[in-house]
C-alpha cells in the first residue's frame, strides 16, 4: 500500500456548477507524486473544469482540494504550486520567447542572475535556444507548443497541468510531441496531469488514466486495466473500439458461462466465480481479438460463428472487416498485416469469426 506521502493532488467530493448544469459532480481523485496522470473524456465531460479547479482558475462550489498535503481552497491561482499549459497555449503575444519563459520567474521576484541560467536550460531542453528573441507569431504551431511547455516547466512546479496541449497540432507532429512530452516528464519527474479527448494519446503516455463523463469519474486505472477490464460499456466504447452484444447470461458452469442473444448462436464467456450473476448484460470483445477464417472447423476456439463480410478496409498496417453478427449488430474484426503475403477476405464472402472464450467480457448494468 502506498503511503499518504505519495499523494500529490487529492480531490474530495468536488462540485462545480456552470449555469444549471453540474460541470463537475462529486468528484474524488488521488493523483500520485511523479506520475503521468491523464483525464480522458468526451467534450463537455468536465475534464477541463477539473483542471481549472486544480489550478484555481475556477472556484469549486463544494468539496475540498489539496496539493502536496496543503488545502488549496483560499489560495488564488498565483499562489498555488502548479503551472498550466493552456489549450491554445495562451502565450503573451507582445513578449519574446525568452520573456514569455522568464515571466513566472520574474513574478516570483528572482534576480536576473538567477533567471538567466534557468531559462537557458529549459529553452535548451525544448530546443528553442535559437529562437529566444522571436515573438510567438513568428513561431510554428509546434514551436509555440514548446514555448508554452517551457514557460510552465521553468518554474519547477509540484504539478504541471496540461489542457489538451497537442490538440492544435496535426497528426505527424502530434505523435512526435507525444514522445517528447513523455520523455520530458520522465526527465524532470514532475507530476503531470494531462487532459485529452484522444484515447490513444491517453493510453500511450499515461501511468494512470481517469475516464470522465457527465462531470463524474467513471473509472480510474492503468491503461491496461482500462483496456482489458473496462467497468462499463461507456469505457469499453470510449477507450478503444469494442464489439458489443446485448443479451443474457443463461447458464453458469464452472469457469465458463453461456451468453444468449436473439438470433445469435450461444456464446461461451469467462465466468470469474461469484462476480457474475445470471441476468441481462452486454458482451464485449475487442476487434483485434477476433479471428477470421474460411475453415469451418473451430480449431480450438470456443466460439466459432459463420458471418458474411460486409466491408473490407485497408489501412496499410491492418485490415478492418465489418460483418453483421445479427441484424443491427455490426461487428468489426481487425487483422494485422504482418506480411506482404497476407490473406485477404472480400466483401460478400462467407467466413467464420472465432475467438477464445477468455478474450470476451460480460458487463452487467
Amino acid at each position: 500500500m502506498k503511503s499518504m506521502g505519495d499523494v500529490s493532488i487529492k480531490l474530495e467530493h468536488l462540485v462545480k456548477q456552470h449555469g444549471d448544469t453540474l460541470a463537475v459532480d462529486d468528484l474524488s481523485l488521488e493523483i500520485r507524486r511523479g506520475e503521468f496522470f491523464s483525464i480522458l473524456g468526451p467534450s463537455g465531460s468536465g475534464k477541463t473544469t477539473t483542471l481549472r479547479l486544480i489550478a484555481g482558475l475556477d472556484q469549486p462550489d463544494g468539496g475540498s482540494l489539496s496539493i502536496e498535503g496543503q488545502l488549496m481552497q483560499d489560495l488564488p491561482p498565483n499562489q498555488r504550486p502548479v503551472n498550466m499549459v493552456f489549450q491554445n497555449y495562451a502565450l503573451f503575444p507582445h513578449l519574446t520567447v525568452w520573456k514569455n519563459v522568464s515571466f513566472g520567474l520574474e513574478m516570483k521576484g528572482l534576480s536576473r542572475r538567477e533567471i538567466i541560467p534557468k531559462v537557458e536550460q529549459v529553452l535548451d531542453m525544448v530546443q528553442l535556444g535559437e529562437k529566444q528573441n522571436r515573438v510567438p507569431a513568428q513561431l510554428s504551431g509546434g514551436e509555440q507548443q514548446r514555448v508554452a511547455l517551457a514557460r510552465a516547466l521553468v518554474n519547477r512546479p509540484a504539478v504541471l497541468l496540461l489542457d489538451e496541449p497537442l490538440g492544435a497540432l496535426d497528426q505527424q507532429l502530434r505523435q512526435e510531441m507525444q514522445g517528447e512530452l513523455k520523455l520530458i516528464q520522465e526527465r524532470v519527474g514532475i507530476t503531470f496531469v494531462f487532459v485529452t479527448h484522444h484515447q490513444e494519446e491517453a493510453l500511450i503516455m499515461s501511468d494512470r488514466v481517469a475516464v470522465m463523463n457527465g462531470g463524474r469519474v467513471i473509472q480510474v486505472g492503468t491503461p491496461q486495466e482500462l483496456y482489458e477490464t473496462p467497468g462499463s460499456t461507456f469505457v469499453a466504447r470510449f477507450v478503444g473500439h469494442s464489439n458489443c452484444l446485448d443479451g443474457e447470461v443463461a447458464s453458469m458452469d464452472g469457469t465458463t458461462c453461456t451468453f444468449r442473444s436473439d438470433g445469435v448462436s450461444p456464446i461461451q464467456v469467462p465466468c470469474p466465480g461469484h462476480s457474475l450473476e445470471v441476468g441481462r448484460g452486454t458482451f464485449i470483445i475487442r476487434p483485434e481479438r477476433l479471428c477470421l477464417t474460411r475453415n469451418a472447423q473451430p480449431n480450438g476456439f470456443e466460439n466459432h460463428l459463420p458471418v458474411r463480410i460486409q466491408k473490407a478496409r485497408y489501412i496499410g498496417d491492418e485490415m478492418q472487416y465489418q460483418f453483421d453478427l445479427a441484424p443491427n449488430v455490426r461487428w468489426m474484426a481487425r487483422l494485422p498485416i504482418s506480411s506482404r503475403h497476407h490473406e485477404r477476405f472480400h466483401p460478400g464472402e462467407q467466413v467464420f469469426v472465432s475467438w477464445k472464450a477468455h478474450e470476451g467480457l460480460i458487463l452487467t448494468s
Binding site: 489550478a55 491561482p77 498565483n78 491554445n88 503573451f92 507582445h94 513574478m107 515573438v135
Partner: protein
C-alpha cells in the same frame, strides 16, 4: 480625391492673406505661419494642450475600467453596456452643454441639491471655470475613449490573464504586464479621438468657460467668425493637424512590429 480637396484648399488659404473686409487675397506668403509663433498665442496653446491633455487623461482613467468591465461581460450585458455608453451621443451636443450649465450654475441643480442636503452652506462657483470646461469635455468625449478601448480589450483572450495569474502575477502585475501593453493600440486610438476634438472644441469652452478662457478651438472660431481672418485660422488648424498626425504616425511606426500579432 474627394477627401483631399478641402485640405488642399485649406492649405492654399493659409498661404494667402486677409482682405480688408475679411475674405482672402491670394498673396502667397508664409506670414500666417510666422504669426503663429507670436508669444501672444503661447498662453493659449499651453492652456489648450493642458486642458485637452487633462481631459484625455481623465477619460482614460475613467474609461479603462468601464471598457474592461464591458469587454469581459457576457455578450448580452456587453450589448446593454455599449448601448448605455452611447447614450450621451444621442442628444444634441449643444443641448447637453446647456444641461451642464443648468447643473453647475450658482443656483443650479448641483448647488441646490447639495445645499438642501446640508452638505454645503455656500454654493460652489464652478461654472465659467476650467473645471466646468473639463467636466463638459470629459462627458462629451468619454464614449470616444471607451469604444476603442473596449474593442482592444475584447481582443485580449481571457486565457492570457489566466496564464499570467498562473505564472504568479498578482492583480497589478496582470494589468501592467499583460492587459496594458496589449491594449496599447486602443489606448492610442482613444487618446487621439479625445485629444483632437478637445483641442478643437469651441462650444464647450465658450459656454461652460464663459469666454474667459480663450482656447485653440475658440481662437480658430474667433478668427473665422468674428475677426474673419480666414488665412490665419487656416494656418492655425493646418499646423495643428500636421503636428497631431506626425505624433500619432511616429507612435504607430514605433509600435508597428509589436502590434502585428
Amino acid at each position: 480625391m474627394f477627401f483631399f480637396v478641402p485640405l488642399l484648399v485649406m492649405l492654399g488659404v493659409s498661404l494667402a492673406s486677409r482682405g480688408t473686409y475679411g475674405g482672402v487675397e491670394w498673396t502667397w506668403t508664409l506670414t500666417n505661419y510666422l504669426r503663429l509663433a507670436d508669444p501672444l498665442y503661447w498662453n493659449i496653446y499651453l492652456r489648450s494642450v493642458l486642458l485637452a491633455g487633462v481631459t484625455t487623461g481623465v477619460c482614460l482613467v475613467l474609461g479603462f475600467p468601464l471598457a474592461y468591465v464591458m469587454a469581459r461581460a457576457s455578450p448580452r450585458i456587453q450589448n446593454l453596456l455599449l448601448f448605455l455608453a452611447m447614450i450621451p451621443f444621442w442628444t444634441n451636443f449643444l443641448v447637453r452643454t446647456y444641461a451642464w450649465m443648468f447643473i453647475l450654475r450658482t443656483k443650479g441643480v448641483m448647488n441646490t441639491g447639495l445645499m438642501s442636503l446640508g452638505l454645503i452652506d455656500q454654493p460652489i462657483e464652478i461654472l465659467y471655470t476650467d473645471s466646468a470646461v473639463l467636466l463638459g469635455l470629459v462627458y462629451g468625449y468619454l464614449p470616444f475613449m471607451v469604444l476603442p478601448l473596449y474593442v482592444a480589450i475584447e481582443r485580449i483572450a481571457p486565457s492570457l490573464e489566466e496564464a499570467a495569474q498562473d505564472l504568479y502575477a498578482g492583480g497589478w502585475a496582470v494589468f501592467w504586464r499583460v492587459i496594458f501593453p496589449l491594449s496599447k493600440p486602443g489606448i492610442v486610438a482613444g487618446c487621439v479621438l479625445v485629444f483632437i476634438p478637445s483641442l478643437g472644441a469651441f462650444i464647450t469652452p465658450h459656454l461652460l468657460g464663459g469666454g474667459r478662457s480663450m482656447m485653440l478651438g475658440t481662437l480658430i472660431q474667433h478668427e473665422f467668425l468674428v475677426i474673419r481672418d480666414w488665412p490665419f485660422g487656416s494656418a492655425l488648424s493646418f499646423l495643428l493637424m500636421v503636428l497631431l498626425l506626425s505624433l500619432t504616425v511616429s507612435f504607430f511606426k514605433r509600435q508597428g512590429l509589436a502590434d502585428r500579432t
